[in-house]
C-alpha cells in the first residue's frame, strides 16, 4: 500500500539494512532463543487443540442433528461422547490460547509497543468470537436436559460459526506479519493506521483458508483415528463404524481441496514473499526453468542429493516452464531464513498431504464399489496413523510459514531480535512453561483416552470391555 513512503524507517525486505535499532534487544543470544522456543512451544501446542475447537463442533452437531432426525441412538451417543471430549479440549484450548496473549507482551513487547495498535482489530474481533464460542459451548455442554432437542442442536451452531471466525481473525493477524499493511512509520512510530487494510492484507485469504481447512482435516482425521483403532482391535460395533466414517469423510473430502489451496498459497509466495518460497525450495540463484527438488540438503547455496523434476518449480509457481523464480541470493545473507528446516518442513507437510489424499481415494473407491469402507488391517492401521499424521502436517506447515519469515517478526519491518524483551533469564520461564505443558499434554491425552474407552451405555455391547 504505502510501503516505501517513509524511506527512513522502511527497509527493503530483500536487501535489508542494518540491524542496529533503538528497540528492545535480548539480554543475551540465549534469551532470544529461549523466547522463540517458548513461543513455538506454546503456539505449536495451542494450534493443534484449536483445530479441534474449530472442526469438532460442526462434526458433533451434525451427528446430534442426524440422531434427532432419525431417532438413531448411535448418532446421539456419538454426539454426547464427542461433546464430552470437546469440553476438555475447549478448556485446554481456552487457557493455552490465553497464554499466547500474555506472551505477545511478555516475550515480544518490542513488536506490541510499535504494532499492537495495527493488529488490534482482528484480535478484538476474535475476542468477541471467543466470547460467543465460550457462552454457547457452555450452554451446549451443560444444557442437554434444560433445552428441547431442537433448540439444543441450534445452540451448537454459534459454536461452529464462532470457532471458524476465531481462526479467521487470528490468522489474518499472522498474515499481517507476512504482509504488513495499513500503516506508515514516522520516527519509528506508526501513523496513518488503517485497521481494516491491515487486517485484509494480501496474505489474509490464502493463509486463513489454508488454516481453516487444515483445522477441519486435523479434527476429522484425529477423531476418526480413535474409532479406526477400535475397529483395528476387532470391534464390529456400528458405534465405531459410524464414529469412524463421519469424521473421516470430512477429512478425506477436504484433502484434495487443501492441496489446491496449498498451491494457491505457494503461488502467492512466489509473487509476494519470494524469499520464503526460495527457502522452501532451496533455490539460491534467481533463474528460469527452475526444477522442483524433492528431498535434499542445502549446503553453501546449493541443494544437494535432491530428486529433480525439470522445470517443476517454474511450472508450479507460474504455470510456465519458463517462469522466473527469485532465489535466496536476492536477499542479503542476514535476511535469509534458515533453509533446511523450512525446506524439510514443507516437504514433510506435502508428503503427508498426498498420503492422506491416497488414503481418502482408497476409502472412496471401496465405498463406490461396495457402499462400505475398507475393513482390512492395513487401511485401518493407516487411518489410525492419519490421526497423528494430520496434526503433524499442520505443525510442519506452521514451521514452514513461521521459520520461513525469519529473521523478521514483521516481514521487512522489524526483526525478531528487535521485538524480544530485554529481560534476562528467559530460559527460566521457558523451563517452567515446558514443564507445565508436558504435564498438561500427558494429562490431556490420558483424560481423552479414558473418555474414549469408557464403557458405552448399557444397551450397547462394547467389545473392548467384554
Amino acid at each position: 500500500m504505502r510501503a516505501g513512503a517513509v524511506p527512513r524507517a522502511v527497509r527493503d525486505p530483500m536487501t535489508g539494512s542494518s540491524a542496529a535499532e533503538l528497540l528492545a534487544e535480548a539480554a543475551s543470544p540465549a534469551d532470544l532463543v529461549a523466547a522463540r522456543i517458548q513461543m513455538a512451544l506454546s503456539l505449536g501446542w495451542h494450534i493443534v487443540i484449536a483445530c479441534f475447537g474449530v472442526g469438532m463442533p460442526a462434526i458433533t452437531v451434525f451427528a446430534e442433528w442426524r440422531g434427532n432426525r432419525t431417532g438413531d441412538e448411535v448418532y446421539r451417543l456419538l454426539a454426547q461422547r464427542w461433546a464430552k471430549a470437546m469440553g476438555v479440549l475447549f478448556a485446554v484450548g481456552a487457557v493455552s490460547g490465553t497464554i499466547l496473549s500474555f506472551e505477545m507482551g511478555v516475550l515480544w513487547p518490542g513488536m506490541m509497543d510499535t504494532y499492537g495498535q495495527v493488529i488490534g482489530l482482528p484480535f478484538t474481533l476474535e475476542g468477541f468470537a471467543f466470547f460467543i464460542e465460550a457462552i454457547f459451548l457452555g450452554i451446549y455442554l451443560y444444557a442437554w436436559d434444560r433445552l428441547s432437542p431442537r433448540v439444543h442442536v441450534l445452540t451448537g451452531i454459534p459454536v461452529c460459526v464462532a470457532g471458524v471466525a476465531s481462526a479467521f481473525f487470528v490468522v489474518t493477524a499472522n498474515a499481517w506479519m507476512n504482509q504488513p499493511r495499513g500503516f506508515d512509520l514516522e520516527n519509528g512510530r506508526v501513523v496513518q493506521v488503517e485497521p481494516w487494510a491491515a487486517m485484509f492484507n494480501p496474505a489474509a485469504w490464502p493463509q486463513t483458508v489454508h488454516m481453516i481447512i487444515a483445522a477441519f482435516m486435523v479434527a476429522g482425521f484425529g477423531m476418526a483415528a480413535v474409532y479406526a483403532a477400535a475397529l483395528l482391535r476387532g470391534s464390529r460395533e456400528r458405534y465405531h463404524r459410524l464414529g469412524f466414517l463421519i469424521p473421516f469423510t470430512v477429512g478425506a473430502v477436504l484433502t484434495p481441496v487443501q492441496i489446491g489451496v496449498g498451491d494457491w498459497a505457494a503461488k502467492f509466495l512466489a509473487e509476494n514473499q519470494p524469499i520464503k518460497l526460495a527457502a522452501i525450495e532451496g533455490v539460491y540463484e534467481t533463474a528460469r526453468n527452475v526444477p522442483l527438488h524433492i528431498g535434499g540438503v542445502y549446503q553453501q547455496g546449493e541443494l544437494r542429493y535432491a530428486l529433480e523434476i525439470p522445470n517443476g518449480l517454474s511450472l508450479l509457481a507460474h504455470w510456465n516452464p519458463n517462469g522466473r523464480i527469485l532465489g535466496l541470493a536476492e536477499a542479503a545473507a542476514e535476511n535469509r531464513p534458515p533453509v533446511n528446516i523450512v525446506h524439510w518442513s514443507f516437504q514433510m507437510m506435502v508428503a503427508i498431504g498426498f498420503g492422506l489424499l491416497l488414503l481418502g481415494i482408497w476409502c472412496g473407491l471401496v465405498w463406490w464399489r461396495r457402499r462400505s469402507f475398507p475393513r482390512n488391517r492395513v487401511f485401518l492401521a493407516l487411518a489410525t496413523a492419519a490421526g497423528f499424521a494430520a496434526p503433524l502436517a499442520l505443525e510442519f506447515g506452521w514451521i514452514t510459514t513461521e521459520v520461513g519469515r525469519q529473521p523478521w517478526i514483521v516481514w521487512g519491518r522489524m526483526r525478531t531480535a528487535e521485538a524480544v524483551t530485554p529481560v534476562p533469564g528467559l530460559y527460566g520461564g521457558l523451563l517452567a512453561v515446558a514443564v507445565v505443558y508436558l504435564v498438561m499434554t500427558v494429562a490431556t491425552i490420558y483424560v481423552l483416552r479414558r473418555l474414549a474407552r469408557a464403557p458405552l451405555a448399557p444397551q450397547e455391547h462394547d467389545e473392548e470391555h467384554a
Binding site: P109, Q117, T124, I139, L141, V433, M440, A443
Partner: protein, 342 residues
C-alpha cells in the same frame, strides 16, 4: 469525553466484569481448597463445580478482552507493563493454565485419586492466580511500571507493600464474591444447610476484606502517596460507595437476602476498581504518562470502539441468556451435577 478516555472506560468496564465474574470463579477455587476432606467437602465442592462449570470459560474471556483492548488502544502501556511484570505475569499465565485445565480434567475423571490431584491443582491455582494479578495491579497503581520496555524494576515492581496489598485484596475479594454468590446458588438448589455454610463464610470474608481494604489505606499512605491522595481526593465518593456497598451486603447477608446481597457486594467491588481509576486519572502510567499520550491513533480507537459496540449487541443478549439459563431451577432435577451430559 475523548476517544482515548472512552476506550479506557470500555477497558475498565471489561476489567470490572472480569473481577466480578472471573473473580468469583477464582473464589470458588479458594473455597474448594478450604472445603476440607474428600467426604466432608464433597457437598461444597459439588455446589462450586455446578455453579462455575458452565460459565467460567465465558467469564475468563473478559480477561482476554481487556488484554486485547489494552494493546490495541494503549500499546505502549501494554508493552511497558508486560515487560516489567515478566515474572508475575508468567506466573499468572501458568496459574490460568493449571486452573482451567485441572478443572476440566477433574470433571472428566472418575478415579478418586486423580480427581483429588486435579482438584488440588485447580484450587491452589485459583488462589495464586488472583494473588499475582493483584501484585501486578499494585505495582501499576504505585507507579512502579513506568513507560518504556522493561523500564521498571523486574522484582521490586511486584514485590513491595502495595503489591502485597493488591495480591491479598484480590484473593479476599474473590473469596468474598464467591461466598456471597454461592449462598443464593445453594438456596436455589434447595440446600439450605449449605447456604448457611456459605453465609458464614461470606460474613467472615466480608469482614476480612473490609479490614484489608481499610488497613490498606495506611499502606498506600506510606508506599503509594500519589494513589493515596487520589483516593482520598477525587476518588473519595467512589470509595464511600464501596464502603456503603460492603456494609449493605453484610446487612443483607445477616437477613439472608442473598440476591440483593450479591448486587451490593458487586457494587462494593466495582466502586473500589473505579475509585482507583478516578484516583489515577488522567495518568495511565505513573509518574507522568497520560491517557491521551499513550493512546493509539484516533482511527484505531474509532474502529475499536465501533467494533466493540457492535460486538456488545451480540454479546450481551448471549450472556444474559447463558446466566438466566443456569441461574434458574433445573426443570427436572435428577440430582445435582448429574445432567445427561455427565
Amino acid at each position: 469525553m475523548s476517544l482515548a478516555e472512552l476506550m479506557i472506560a470500555v477497558m475498565w468496564a471489561g476489567l470490572t466484569a472480569y473481577v466480578l465474574l472471573g473473580g468469583a470463579d477464582f473464589g470458588g477455587g479458594f473455597w474448594d481448597l478450604l472445603a476440607g476432606g474428600t467426604r466432608k467437602g464433597a457437598e461444597q465442592r459439588d455446589l462450586i463445580n455446578h455453579s462455575i462449570g458452565p460459565v467460567w470459560e465465558a467469564n475468563h474471556v473478559w480477561l482476554i478482552f481487556v488484554i486485547v483492548l489494552c494493546w490495541t488502544g494503549f500499546p505502549e502501556v501494554f508493552a511497558a507493563v508486560s515487560s516489567t511484570m515478566y515474572i508475575p505475569l508468567t506466573l499468572v499465565a501458568l496459574g490460568i493454565i493449571a486452573r482451567g485445565a485441572a478443572f476440566a480434567f477433574r470433571k472428566a475423571s472418575t478415579e478418586l485419586g486423580h480427581r483429588r490431584v486435579y482438584g488440588f491443582a485447580f484450587a491452589l491455582s485459583s488462589v495464586l492466580t488472583p494473588f499475582f494479578l493483584g501484585t501486578v495491579a499494585g505495582g501499576i497503581a504505585s507507579g512502579r511500571t513506568p513507560a518504556g520496555i522493561a523500564a521498571g524494576d523486574l522484582v521490586g515492581s511486584w514485590i513491595n507493600p502495595t503489591s502485597a496489598l493488591g495480591g491479598v485484596l484480590a484473593v479476599a475479594v474473590a473469596a468474598y464474591l464467591a461466598a456471597v454468590f454461592l449462598c443464593a446458588d445453594a438456596r436455589r438448589e434447595g440446600a439450605d444447610a449449605l447456604a448457611e455454610t456459605f453465609r458464614r463464610k461470606a460474613l467472615g470474608t466480608a469482614a476480612v476484606t473490609g479490614v484489608v481494604a481499610l488497613g490498606g489505606i495506611a499502606v498506600l499512605h506510606a508506599d503509594a502517596p500519589r494513589l493515596y491522595s487520589g483516593l482520598v481526593g477525587k476518588g473519595l465518593p467512589l470509595i464511600l460507595v464501596s464502603v456503603l456497598g460492603g456494609v449493605a451486603s453484610l446487612a443483607l447477608l445477616l437477613r439472608r437476602r442473598y440476591l440483593p446481597s450479591r448486587v451490593a457486594a458487586a457494587v462494593a467491588v466495582a466502586a473500589l476498581l473505579w475509585g482507583w481509576a478516578v484516583a489515577q486519572y488522567p495518568l495511565v502510567l505513573l509518574p507522568d504518562t497520560t491517557i491521551e499520550e499513550a493512546a493509539a491513533q484516533p482511527a484505531v480507537l474509532r474502529v475499536g470502539l465501533v467494533v466493540t459496540l457492535v460486538g456488545a449487541v451480540l454479546l450481551l443478549p448471549s450472556l444474559w441468556w447463558m446466566f438466566s439459563l443456569f441461574q434458574r431451577e433445573q426443570p427436572h432435577t435428577p440430582g445435582r451435577g448429574a445432567s445427561a451430559s455427565e
